[in-house]
Symmetry: D2
Subunit: 333 residues, 4 copies
């Protein structure tokens, strides 16, 4: 039976950057690790009257639990992080508009002369049993249930080159990817850039739409169960994601077409590796069999996950079978 | 019983532009119309030895059947085009790389100093009964079946302001949208910019991946059955798509985030109309309930379809119920 | 002595598209041609009370004088258009904000939820003798003189492939390039896509800032003197510009980095042609010696002109010396 | 007489990040400070045979001298850095192509399937007396002189929020801006995000073209003389630049139009502050009087400097007259 390491979201266990922090604990490949994560507001938004811009102070946004030192991980390795379980740790979630943040508003870089949109908070009630969350309009009686689809917005390690990045920033180190496929049953692969990798996770979402349109998902605290593996000598450039059915390369870039390009470039190279197809044969296969899902169009870098069904690749034993192995760890729980 | 109008793809029935052409026939709202469309190569690629750049001459690319004069359609109306049936009219389809075209190659605008990628043609065998197409690598023995998913890449009308656009260009008039949701059972809405609308359709795909990565889908001739309606006084800015389950606004722009933005802006406005939600309430709902699928990242403008389930909108009786009415026309056949 | 052809801006001489129109007259290479152009508002804005959105009706925006049939021009040739003289034909000019148009406002594609900025008109008094125009604030007493720098925003020919484009759109056919270097003494090169080329010009600016920030320059009617030449068998992909000192390739694309890329790609190739440098040597030289000026960041396509001093290229006898020849025509006047 | 502090570029004085480093010394407002900076290759490229990818190892690229603790600087202040003098500290400079870096090559994010361009090094001889540098082609006998225009590519402080960024990255903290206006006589303003600001400078260029096309300027070691001031309580969002003639706001973003937008948004706000014009009056004035110069189109973020002549603003006494004061410090030397 694997050990069950546990980390709550007390102040000492929480960080606001990837890199630049001492680890809060050590975990080992194959450990089953339980973490509590705060929501992106640090739990400070507790009603629709709590405006995020008043309750949260830069840079204390999007707390991540960790970092955790992964024994055996070192520069040039790949860290496989398998999400065994995600359980929303609240019966309500919050979303909001936030001044100068979101896809349909002026921002600091897509700068315009318009006044900011109004800052508004929405509270969602969560019915874990029925698997739904309830949207309620603020200015009318309209209510509707949406499927509960728990995911983690932010999973990352210390960046390369000694950089320290805010936890709200996505990058090749992972971070605030905001990809809705990062859910229970998925394995995220990240490049290790320092001894111990320094894994941290946070930003639970009860659900989000593609692209995280208004910049804020249905934000919730989360009980996370995960397990990790270290793949030595398997250098990857940026984040990859694997589920039972698909392998995905995550592109992290602006403009959005560059996120599309880099995600698909990675996927074409992987298809070459797994099938021995030449470059153009692999390009052709991905052109017809690939799917692409937008993660976010609001963060400092946008994200797109380019995916291919493992069935197309004859089950595609990528990443040294880490997904299958880590999935079994969770299954043994 | 509705009339069955029929148009083959003989040279006189084929056009290479939207606008700038006399109609080849007239159709009426509620008619069941049968069209044959050529593939984007005009049928000139007949083996993997036929390089498109040799077999096709600019501007004679991507032939569309039409234009058809829609009786009763006039400027400011909306044309609803319901695809009743799509049947691939060949047992093979072709795809290719094409010099300076595609998402992972330099192009005329994403200009670079690299030599062009090699031009290569792939032939897919189509098994309509099993509902599969077979990918076969050119440089190894790898073969794999992919689902047959017939769709139309190009459906459009004459553009606004008296413009004439090549059929390979997408725009607010529709045209080469390359959205994989444009399949049998879907209704496309287009703004009418001249008397008769001047509808034309083409560019059948046996399937395509999201974004049409290499710039060319599995290109096939198609037997198209469609029926149209005219919605007077319902001005729309650009293309919309409706299925039994979803309503979608199609953004057509570069960079890709602008396609995302304009698609979602349209969708937020529609949600306001259908639900009486205010702007920010609608923005919030789409932020959590919306999905976004990339059409193409290779054409002169990129496309993204922002979608919402009609169930979320209490069945969303949009577009004067044209989708339901036109679907019934096909059902009576 | 060359003939002096003359075309006023009466309704019969004015067009709103490139392509799709019969020529209003014929000119010959070496003719000295005098044209009057209307301002982009068609002369309908006559005071700061005249809001463009009220005074102008789509698609009757940005009238161009022409098209002129250039004798001897045919598909695949290059048309050289030398601007011999530009004289502002009014003592006032107008600028304005326009709803959903400009770089610091939401637009149809950079779509956002903000209400439109206010529509405001500014009147500039023009002092041709002193060479200044006077800016006067609308909501305070602030006034300041700026240099008078007459230029043409729009010079183009019929587009390739039988397309018809609105005169407000820039493209490889020229059109609404909005490059401030297009002034008296400059030669614009355009690809000829039909017999007679069908040249039209308009959109005089008393001056504009880089990028045409608010979308509207200081708009004026203009007396234009120009002369043309036809360079047979010199196919070019898009617009080029030459002055006594510089050769420039104009990139026309979105996003703006693609305008930068395509402009510089063209310039590197030209440097190779003129100097016999290899590709990377030419790339290096342009990297250190090139300048890049932004034309517009507001039109359907953005523009950047990448330039190199002809002195660097040993005077760079490009384009069959058309600039020098056409300059002499004007000098003989 | 101000003190002359001096810092050489010995290993202990050199850093590869902004943030994350202890200061190497302390300077005071009004001190005249002399620094030696290494070239971006750390001095490791000493002939055209020294390929950068072999001679330099990530992350030891683009060394900056510093960081320097500025006494009195604290969070929320603005640091004014006036470049009193730049003297190239070598009689040769080097440029190069670098795999997957530059505007006309595939990169990690504008990912494509083309093989990398060849890596080539060019050596420029520098004639400080004549004020020229000599370009010499690698594969032909072509040589030409270009003006010597010394500038600093990289000047920055510790980033906000505790981030650490590689010195090759530009951002709101400054860093690798690669703006050719950052030359002797210019004052750069940067937001202070920690006690002491932690200023570092490097990346001297003998000259660069607009946009730094191939990704590498004419790289040289530099003797830098600078002096600083601290403007308390003058929070700015990102970098600004001032010369005797102009005030400039530097936009740092992707895509390039967002760099254009944010630079001009800042400039419009400054014009409002200095002239009491309202928002739209200021927008209009910048639209006609503004210029925009591209810094780089190759780094992790692109840069554009939007400028306005101080004469237009009645000499524009911005930034508490720091530029004038600091200029005088240098003059007293």
């Amino acid at each position: 039976v694997p050990d069950l390491m546990s980390f709550d979201a007390s102040p000492g266990n929480v960080s606001y950057t990837f890199g630049g922090r001492e680890p809060v604990g050590e975990i080992h490949p194959g450990d089953l690790v339980r973490l509590r994560t705060l929501d992106c507001f640090g739990g400070n938004v507790r009603s629709v009257a709590d405006l995020p811009s008043k309750m949260c102070e830069f840079p204390f946004l999007n707390p991540v639990t960790g970092p955790l030192y992964v024994s055996g991980a070192d520069i040039g390795d790949t860290l496989a992080v398998h999400i065994t379980d995600l359980t929303v740790a609240s019966n309500v979630g919050y979303s909001a508009t936030f001044p100068h943040f979101g896809a349909l508003t002026r921002t600091a870089t897509t700068a315009m002369l318009h006044p900011a949109l109004a800052e508004v908070v929405w509270q969602y009630t969560i019915d874990a049993e029925r698997g739904t969350i309830r949207y309620a309009a603020r200015n009318s009686n309209f209510e509707v249930d949406l499927p509960l689809s728990p995911m983690l917005g932010t999973v990352g390690v210390a960046p390369a080159g000694g950089e320290t990045r805010l936890s709200i920033v996505p990058g090749w180190h992972g971070g605030n990817l905001d990809c809705p496929q990062l859910t229970a049953g998925a394995t995220l692969y990240l490049p290790v850039s320092c001894e111990g990798a320094l894994l941290a996770v946070g930003d639970g979402h009860a659900r989000q739409g593609d692209g995280e349109l208004c910049g804020v998902a249905v934000e919730v605290p989360m009980d996370v169960t995960l397990t990790v593996d270290v793949l030595p000598g398997l250098g990857i450039a940026g984040p990859w994601l694997e589920t039972d059915e698909q392998i995905m390369c995550i592109g992290v870039a602006r403009p959005l077409e560059d996120a599309y390009r880099s995600a698909h470039h990675g996927l074409v190279r992987l298809v070459q590796d797994l099938t021995a197809l030449d470059e153009l044969d692999a390009y052709q296969l991905v052109s017809q069999a690939g799917t692409a899902r937008i993660g976010n169009v609001v963060d400092e870098q946008y994200t797109i996950a380019a995916a291919i069904d493992k069935g197309v690749l004859d089950r595609g034993h990528a990443f040294q079978n880490a997904h299958q192995r880590l999935r079994a760890v969770g299954g043994n729980r």
